[in-house]
Each structure stands twice: as structure tokens, then as C-alpha cells.
């Protein structure tokens, strides 16, 4: 028993170390000007990275806000589209249900490059290429499968019975959805929402292609630095990226928690 315990603890600390160490190095790198090879510690420190980000002339902060706004909008749209689809897949019985469940995952099975090329041509025709709206639309492609998948499982657990009960008690379909279905699926919405937000926030290729260089998001600022080997700048942007994602997740959790009370009521 005791031996097992040691093994467990060692494995746990090792895992934590493995997960944390890249982050620590990232933080160090963002303050480092020169860190030549044999040296154990960096030789010179500086604040160039953060200065660059905060400097209005670089427009980094504007890009950051645009990215967050874009991903929030994508998250909202994804959830709006996914809820009805997930309900159909999770609750109703119809022919070809298994096929549709598979089909919904297609965008993440097929490489996005292949799909995006086709979409790009269509978007040029529709006048959506190089626009904010176009980028929002194309972000839905990799996001919807995740959201539908998670929410389908949520609906499978909730089922239809609570809604039936609410209807019988005199609630209209809309009231039932707002008062019963949404609160019941709140935890699922939270996990689907946060996953989708991250997926959208880290899109590089799709934004690059459809945005045509006019819609600049955080990953697009970051990539050139990574490519050119400017580790300081790349690390700084990475940290900002991580912090942004974490803050957004916390905000989302707060909203859901506050809206649907703090009780842990999911006893099903």
C-alpha cells in the first residue's frame, strides 16, 4: 500500500513538472534578450516583448481585442447552431442517425486545408472573402463538430422527460427551453463553449486564408516571430495568448455559475 502511494506521488509530481516546465521556460524566455547555448541561465534580460505588446503604435492590443471579439462571436454562433442539432441527435430517433453523427465530425476528420480551399473560392464569389463575417463563418467549420459532439452527450443524459414535465405544468416550448433545458445543460454549454473558444482563438490557417491578411488575429501576429526565431517576442505573445484564454474561461464560468446559481444540483 505504502509503496503504491510513493509510485503514485512520484508519477503525479513528474506529470505536473512535465506540464509546468514548458510554461516556466516560456515565462523566462519572454524576459530574455540573449540566452546562448552552454549557459544555464540567460545572459541578458529585457522588457522588449511586453513593451512591444503594450505600445499603441504596434496595434497589438487592438489585435488582441479583435481576436477575443471574433472568437466570442464564433463561440456564440457555434452554440446557437449546435444546440438544436445536438438535441436532434441526442433525443430524437430518426433514420440515418448514426450516419449524421459521423457526418458531423467530418470537418475535423478531413484536413481543413482541403476544405478551406473550396470554401475560399465560394467566399470570393459571395463577397465574403477578406471580411470579418467571412472569417467568423469559416471558424464555424472546425468549431461546430466539437460543440455538437459534447452537447449531444449532454442531451442524451438530460433526455426529454424534464421538458415534458415542464410542458405539462403549463410552460410553452420557449419557456421550457429557457427555464428548464438551458439550466440543465449549463455545464455542457460551459465545456463546449470553452473548447470552441480555444479552437477559434488558435485558428491560424483559416483566418489567414479567408481573412486575406486584412483580418489579423493573435496567432497571425505570433507566427512570424516563431518562424524567424525571435524567441522573446514569440514567448511574450504565447503568454498573452494563454492568459487571454484563461481569463475568458474564467469569465464564462462566472457567467454560467451566477446565472444558474451556485448550487451543485446535477444529481442525475
Amino acid at each position: 500500500m505504502k509503496k503504491n502511494n510513493y509510485i503514485f506521488k512520484i508519477t503525479m509530481y513528474l506529470l505536473i513538472f512535465l506540464l509546468i516546465s514548458p510554461l516556466v521556460i516560456l515565462v523566462i524566455w519572454s524576459f530574455v534578450r540573449i540566452w546562448p547555448w552552454p549557459n544555464l541561465l540567460p545572459r541578458d534580460y529585457g522588457l522588449r516583448g511586453f513593451k512591444h505588446v503594450l505600445d499603441p503604435s504596434t496595434k497589438s492590443l487592438r489585435v488582441l481585442f479583435l481576436s477575443v471579439g471574433l472568437s466570442s462571436l464564433v463561440t456564440l454562433c457555434t452554440l446557437l447552431i449546435s444546440i438544436p442539432a445536438a438535441k436532434a441527435l441526442g433525443v430524437y430517433e430518426f433514420r440515418g442517425k448514426g450516419f449524421f453523427k459521423m457526418l458531423i465530425l467530418a470537418p475535423i476528420i478531413v484536413p481543413p486545408v482541403a476544405v478551406a480551399m473550396g470554401i475560399h473560392i465560394a467566399f470570393i464569389k459571395l463577397g465574403l472573402a477578406n471580411t470579418f463575417l467571412g472569417v467568423v463563418f469559416v471558424h464555424l467549420v472546425p468549431c461546430i463538430p466539437y460543440a455538437v459532439r459534447i452537447l449531444t452527450n449532454v442531451f442524451e443524459i438530460i433526455g426529454e422527460s424534464m421538458e415534458m414535465q415542464a410542458r405539462v405544468l403549463g410552460a410553452s416550448p420557449l419557456q421550457t427551453f429557457i427555464k428548464i433545458t438551458l439550466p440543465l445543460m449549463a455545464p455542457g454549454l460551459l465545456s463546449a463553449g470553452s473548447l470552441v473558444f480555444i479552437v477559434s482563438l488558435s485558428q491560424y490557417f483559416l483566418t489567414f486564408l479567408i481573412g486575406g491578411g486584412r483580418i489579423i488575429t493573435l496567432p497571425m501576429l505570433m507566427f512570424p516571430y516563431i518562424q524567424s526565431g525571435d524567441r522573446m517576442m514569440a514567448s511574450t505573445y504565447s503568454i498573452i495568448f494563454i492568459v487571454t484564454a484563461l481569463i475568458m474561461l474564467l469569465i464564462m464560468e462566472r457567467i454560467v455559475r451566477n446565472y444558474y446559481k451556485e448550487q451543485n444540483y446535477f444529481y442525475i
Binding site: 422527460s161 424534464m162 415534458m164 414535465q165 415542464a166 410542458r167 405539462v168 405544468l169 403549463g170 410552460a171 410553452s172 419557456q175 427555464k179 428548464i180 439550466p183 440543465l184 444558474y260 446559481k261 448550487q263 444540483y265 446535477f266 444529481y267 442525475i268
Partner: protein, 344 residues
């Protein structure tokens, strides 16, 4: 007070005819049980009355007015489901007030009604609790209070006691019957438990295979079943094939006096508890042999054989008989129920 009428209700699910023309009248303030095995269409009937499913054909009348086209939320028929389905994100109070809120009843009035319901179902002190903090019986009470709060036209109970343990079930049964009597609300209870149906309701409708086979008072359906199917549902029976000749039932075992002469070829239904076992010849009956014995405390189940026919008997444990013992089966054929023999 509402009178409910179902006229020729049918429903098909995925090529299976679940309901085959249900005709049913529930009188004002009556408590009626729909009794049947699982999968016979009882719950479907309830859902059709509530409006959760629409019937393929037929009509539903509340006090003579068709309500088939009225949507669920305006119908005023509330189902209390088997698993209570309390809204987990609402307190007891909020659960009970849910229907009132949906009906847009003002807060002060709502509060009074909720208070009244909590008193009715005796749940003082639980107002602020969440469903996850309640026991099974309490959840059941909340579910009933929530249904009654909106003063429904008809209360539909879907196996309301089957998730409770035996002792709690008994007290909840009495409790629900009392409330039903007090409020005089027209109630339909769906159950597969024959004892529950017989104990609680004014009338019992036996549904088998999507059809109502018999409706009557508990005593009527139990004592005078309309067919062997209904009789078997109330417990295992013995059947003796034979003929009626001049007021006598003639079968393999002999000739017995009976007052029955409706059909010439008949099946006599003998309940296991109607067979009395004795050591010596006594009254009408015949000799048999005990094949096996199962002891169940207050009663004993015997399997008997007489003239190569197997019979079941349930006796009290006053006189014990052993396997292979020869016994006299005393049966009063004048009280026996005869069915028309099926063509075999």
C-alpha cells in the same frame, strides 16, 4: 370538476399498434386505475390525454368538449411521472411555484398557494431545499404538490409509487388517496401493481395489449373477470375443461353440481385459494396427490396432480401436508366462474 372521455383512441409507433381503439369514461372526481403489464400502452394513454403525444385517430373530451387540438400547456392535465422529475436547479418552493409562474400568477398570490401546497403535503421546513437533498418520499410529495398547485382539470399519475420502498409506498398510497378525496380531483392512475389498483381506485380498467379488456369496480374485475386473460393478470389460476350437462359440470375429475348453463363447452376457473385441502372426503371435490410444497410463512403454495392434471393451491399454514401425500381437494363448483371454452 371534469369528466374525461376517450373515444376510440389509437396510436401506432414504428409500425406497432400500441393502442387499439381505447374507449374510456372517467367521471367527475373519480379515481380510475389503468392496470396492465408494462408495454401495454398505459403510459402512452396518459401522455395522449396530457397532449404529449397526439392520437392517430379518436377524440378526447373534457366535460364534453374536444381538447385534441389544444396544446399541452393549455390543456390542464398534469402528469406526475414515475421518477418525479423535480427540476434540480430549483428549490422545493420554486418547483411548486413553477406552474403558477408559467400561468403568470402574481407573486403574492403565488406565495399563498405554495404555502397552502406545502401544508397540504406536509413538507414544512423543506421550502428552501434542493431536490437532491430530499428523500424519495419527500420528492414524491413535492411532485404531487407541484402538480396540484396549478389546480389541474385532471391529475394523471404514472406509476407514482413504484420507486418507493414497500412501507413508504403504503403510506404514500393512503396519503395520495386522502388528497384525492379531499380535493375531489378527477384522477387517472397508471400501474402494473394489481394490489395498488384494487386498493386505491373507484374503478379499474384492465389494459392488455393496447385494448381495454374490462372496466369495473375493484371487486367486479377481481371476482368476475371477463376473460381468462384478465383473470390471469390478477394471479395464476387453474383451469378445468369440461361440459355443462343439465346443471352439472362434467370433467375428467367427475360430475359436480353447478348453477351455470350458459355455454355447453366451458373452462372452469379455480383460484388457487379456492381449493381447500383435507385428509378425508368432504363436500364436492376430488382426490389428488401433492407434488411439491413451498412454504411462505402465512401461506403455503402446493402443486398438486389429479388425473394427470396439474393444479396450484394456496393454503394457510394451519394444516401442513407433505409431498406425495394423498389429499382431498374440496372445491365449491357452485361459486366457480366458467368461461366459454376456446376452440382447440
Amino acid at each position: 370538476m371534469y369528466k374525461i372521455e376517450l373515444k376510440n383512441i389509437s396510436k401506432v409507433f414504428e409500425n406497432k399498434r400500441v393502442l387499439k381503439g381505447i374507449n374510456l369514461i372517467v367521471n367527475e372526481g373519480e379515481m380510475l386505475s389503468l392496470l396492465g403489464p408494462s408495454g401495454c400502452g398505459k403510459t402512452t394513454t396518459l401522455k395522449i390525454i396530457a397532449g404529449l403525444f397526439s392520437p392517430d385517430c379518436g377524440d378526447i373530451l373534457f366535460n364534453g368538449k374536444s381538447i385534441v387540438n389544444i396544446p399541452v400547456e393549455k390543456r390542464g392535465a398534469v402528469i406526475v411521472f414515475q421518477d418525479y422529475l423535480l427540476f434540480p436547479h430549483m428549490t422545493v418552493e420554486e418547483n411548486i411555484a413553477f406552474g403558477l409562474k408559467m400561468a403568470k400568477i402574481k407573486k403574492p398570490k403565488r406565495r399563498v398557494k405554495v404555502r397552502e401546497m406545502i401544508d397540504l403535503v406536509k413538507l414544512d421546513g423543506c421550502e428552501k431545499k434542493y431536490p437532491s437533498e430530499l428523500s424519495g418520499g419527500q420528492k414524491q410529495r413535492v411532485a404531487i404538490a407541484r402538480a396540484l398547485a396549478i389546480e389541474p382539470k385532471v391529475l394523471l399519475l404514472d406509476e407514482p409509487f413504484s420507486n418507493l420502498d414497500t412501507r413508504l409506498r403504503e403510506s404514500m398510497r393512503i396519503f395520495v388517496c386522502d388528497i384525492q378525496k379531499k380535493l375531489g380531483i378527477t384522477t387517472i392512475l397508471v400501474t402494473h401493481d394489481k394490489e395498488e389498483a384494487l386498493l386505491t381506485s373507484h374503478r379499474v380498467a384492465v389494459i392488455l395489449d393496447g385494448e381495454i379488456k374490462q372496466i369495473g369496480t375493484p371487486a367486479e374485475v377481481y371476482e368476475k373477470p371477463s376473460s381468462p386473460l384478465v383473470a390471469d393478470f390478477f394471479g395464476e389460476k387453474n383451469y378445468l375443461e369440461g361440459e355443462i350437462i343439465k346443471g352439472f359440470f362434467v370433467c375428467k375429475m367427475g360430475k359436480f353440481k353447478t348453477g351455470f348453463d350458459k355455454y355447453p363447452r366451458v373452462m372452469a376457473m379455480i383460484r388457487p385459494e379456492e381449493i381447500e385441502l383435507t385428509d378425508s372426503e368432504e363436500g364436492s371435490g376430488f382426490w389428488g396427490r401433492i407434488l411439491s410444497k413451498q412454504y411462505a410463512g402465512d401461506k403455503i403454495y402446493y402443486k398438486l396432480s389429479a388425473n394427470d392434471i396439474q393444479l396450484k393451491c394456496m393454503a394457510n399454514s394451519k394444516n401442513m401436508f407433505e409431498a406425495n401425500q394423498r389429499v382431498w381437494l374440496k372445491i365449491d363448483f357452485e361459486k366457480t366462474i366458467f368461461f366459454k371454452a376456446e376452440k382447440s
